[in-house]
């Protein structure tokens, strides 16, 4: 079984002394490089000299025009790339710089030696993306610098798409859940019953095999009372997140305990599943909304001490 897994985060990055001057410069529509120990002007400016590793502090302005020193065609742009129509990646050696920078060139006839000029993005303050791309140089005048406050942080969003695959053992378990069943498997070496079943028993390194249908009741082994709000939280604190050891299983799994006051939950408390309505079921443990106390006497500590 597979399903899309999209992950993303808007990283906020503090810039430090060298890069904040570079990024502020871009917002001002100026391009700055750093002069290294060997006299080379590096664009973008490195924080430390590539040869001597000393901090680089002498920044110099370079031109908004330059020469393509290499290029590679991007026929079908990928997400997040500078342009969404076909373009060329290029190393552009700006006039006044000794090292080329990597960016995009918006032209059909990109070639080594081509003269190009910065096309500035409408909005500033986004670091390297203040340069939208490079375009063929046609003798335009330079864009005038403009005012911009010092910039010390930028946001660099990362968005990645994956197809997540469940293992054969996990797939069996997920399909079982869709039918209201809790399926575990036994390790052929140690005999322990795992739910979910696993591609490798953590103690023996072999896949679990024999299928065992487990009841939807068991005990709380350990738990915590969540008091702290966090991003993405779906239940209002305080609530109990608990490890539930189903009767017959050798490993507990994390779920919620509701239906009593948080401070009533204790180790060894007997619980049963509270399922969502059948019409809402899918291939997920979320078919069980939570576990609730059954009211039966607690399990003795010795009966679950080995599962803590």
């Amino acid at each position: 079984m597979s399903a899309p897994l999209d992950i993303g985060f808007d990283y906020t990055r503090s810039l430090g002394p060298t890069l904040s001057r570079f990024v502020t410069g871009l917002a001002q529509r100026r391009i700055l490089g750093a002069r290294g120990a060997d006299g080379r002007v590096h664009v973008p400016p490195p924080e430390y000299d590539p040869v001597t590793s000393e901090p680089l502090t002498e920044l110099v302005e370079v031109a908004q025009t330059g020469t393509v020193t290499s290029w590679c065609w991007q026929p079908e742009p990928l997400a997040g790339q500078p342009l969404q129509q076909p373009f060329a990646w290029a190393f552009v050696l700006l006039d006044g710089a000794d090292t080329p920078m990597l960016h995009a060139v918006d032209a059909d006839d990109v070639h080594t030696g081509m003269r190009v000029r910065v096309r500035w993005a409408a909005e500033g303050g986004n670091g390297i993306r203040d340069i939208e791309c490079f375009a063929p140089e046609t003798g335009q005048t330079d864009v005038e610098p403009r005012e911009a406050d010092d910039i010390t942080m930028i946001t660099t969003p990362v968005r990645l798409k994956y197809m997540h695959s469940a293992s054969p053992e996990e797939s069996l378990y997920l399909r079982g859940l869709a039918e209201g069943k809790l399926l575990g498997q036994r390790c052929p070496a140690c005999g322990k019953v795992y739910i979910p079943p696993r591609g490798a028993c953590p103690t023996d390194g072999v896949p679990t095999e024999d299928e065992i249908e487990l009841p939807d009741r068991g005990i709380v082994t350990t738990f915590c009372i969540v008091n702290v709000p966090f991003l993405g939280q779906r239940i209002k604190p305080p609530y109990v997140a608990a490890y539930i050891l189903l009767d017959g299983a050798d490993i507990a799994f994390l779920h919620l305990v509701l239906g009593c006051e948080a401070e009533e939950v204790r180790m060894g408390m007997r619980v049963e599943a509270a399922w969502k309505p059948r019409a809402e079921w899918g291939t997920t443990l979320e078919n069980i909304d939570h576990f609730r106390p059954t009211g039966e006497p607690d399990a003795p500590y010795d009966s679950y001490a080995g599962h803590l």
């Binding site: 897994l5 992950i7 990283y11 990055r13 810039l15 890069l19 570079f22 990024v23 290294g36 080379r40 590096h42 664009v43 973008p44 490195p46 590539p50 020193t69 290499s70 290029w71 590679c72 065609w73 026929p75 990928l78 997400a79 997040g80 790339q81 500078p82 990646w89 290029a90 190393f91 090292t99 080329p100 920078m101 990597l102 960016h103 995009a104 080594t112 986004n126 670091g127 390297i128 993306r129 930028i154 660099t156 990645l160 798409k161 994956y162 197809m163 997540h164 695959s165 293992s167 054969p168 070496a189 696993r198 591609g199 490798a200 953590p202 103690t203 023996d204 390194g205 072999v206 896949p207």
Partner: protein, 346 residues
């Protein structure tokens, strides 16, 4: 006591375009860990140190390498480490560990399920996160920029690149890619990312590899033909692409010099792009007498984070008595970081 280290066994999962298994690699690792241990009659309790190479970014899961440890059956507790890099570097760490005298044996493993995400876009995360990464230059495009520098500079031609591809594709019937094709036919195929054609780039591969190391004076008890690691060195270049010489691989040259890599007649090079094989041959001074990538190399199958380790394993498997071989591994954009492992077979 000798602190030389030898390779005593090697096993790899079939290199395929996509597995049905999970990104934590256990389905690929369980059978090959068993195979590598069976080859030398060892069980997991005989292994002093376990070290892996893999990438959570490839998997899209934090701590995916921890889930992979299930494949070992890590009980009683084991001595374990991990590098978020190709497992060739995990082998380096294991080599160091044996040379300290702390352990006599090590099992090194690497794995990657490249098919889970969009590999060439994931690898953009290796670029400078402030000044390059936000543009999302993918790994193929960065390699294409490097390829064109060599084309423009007369270091290689598109035909030279096609010949590398043709030889690699025909080399190994057991590889993911096995195709009898001529350079002319390949040159007739369309560009994928001009100047690169599809065959100039390694395929997307899911795979895994395992190597067992032992102290050399113990290795003879375990294997009929252990391969001694004569030397292993690695070097890295600047993260600033513009500041680097992208056509001569100074870090490979430096690593090879430090590893005393002269006189090899067999080389397994971790070159995921055809022009990079030519570049590395030039950098290492490998003449026509050196057999390069008889395994097919990464161009015939490129399990991310295992491919560098597999170069070491393939060289160790093919080296003949009295021969010197070189295995190379790379990491980062456009050959930024390079490891050279010199092997000798008695």
């Amino acid at each position: 006591m000798s602190t030389d280290v030898s390779i005593v066994s090697f096993a790899q999962a079939p290199n395929v375009r996509a597995t049905h298994g999970t990104t934590n690699g256990v389905e690929m690792l369980v059978p090959i860990m068993k195979a590598a241990l069976d080859q030398v009659g060892l069980s997991k309790k005989d292994i002093g140190f376990w070290c892996s190479g893999s990438s959570d970014y490839l998997a899209g899961r934090a701590f995916s390498f921890i889930a992979a440890v299930d494949a070992i059956g890590a009980f009683p507790p084991i001595h374990e480490s991990h590098v978020e890099a190709d497992a060739a570097w995990a082998l380096y760490e294991a080599w160091v560990k044996i040379r300290t005298g702390e352990v006599d044996t090590a099992l090194v493993y690497g794995f990657g399920k490249s098919s889970a995400g969009q590999l060439r876009r994931v690898l953009a995360l290796q670029l400078d996160p402030y000044t390059v990464g936000p543009l999302w230059p993918d790994a193929v495009s960065v390699a294409g920029l490097q390829a064109r520098l060599g084309l423009d500079g007369g270091l290689w031609t598109e035909r030279d690149m096609a010949e590398v591809a043709a030889r690699s594709r025909g080399a190994n019937p057991d590889a993911q890619i096995h195709e009898q094709v001529t350079a002319d036919e390949l040159l007739g195929r369309p560009y994928f990312a001009n100047p690169l054609r599809k065959h100039d780039c390694a395929p997307v591969t899911d795979g895994a590899a395992v190597v067992v190391l032992a102290r050399s004076d113990k290795a003879k008890d375990l294997s009929d033909r252990p391969t001694r690691i004569a030397c292993i060195q690695h070097r890295i270049e600047s993260a600033h692409l513009g500041a680097r010489d992208l056509t001569t691989s100074p870090s490979t040259v430096a690593a090879a010099k430090a590893a005393n890599a002269d006189g090899v007649t067999l080389a397994e090079l971790h070159a995921p792009f055809t022009h990079q094989e030519i570049l590395l041959r030039q950098a290492l001074g490998l003449g026509d007498e050196v057999v390069v990538n008889p395994s097919g190399g990464p161009l015939a199958g490129n399990p991310m984070f295992a491919a560098g380790l597999a170069r070491i394993g393939e060289a160790a498997t093919r080296i003949k008595p009295g021969e010197r071989a070189l295995a190379h591994a790379t990491s980062g954009p456009a050959l930024q970081q390079n490891l050279v492992c010199v092997l000798e077979a008695d």
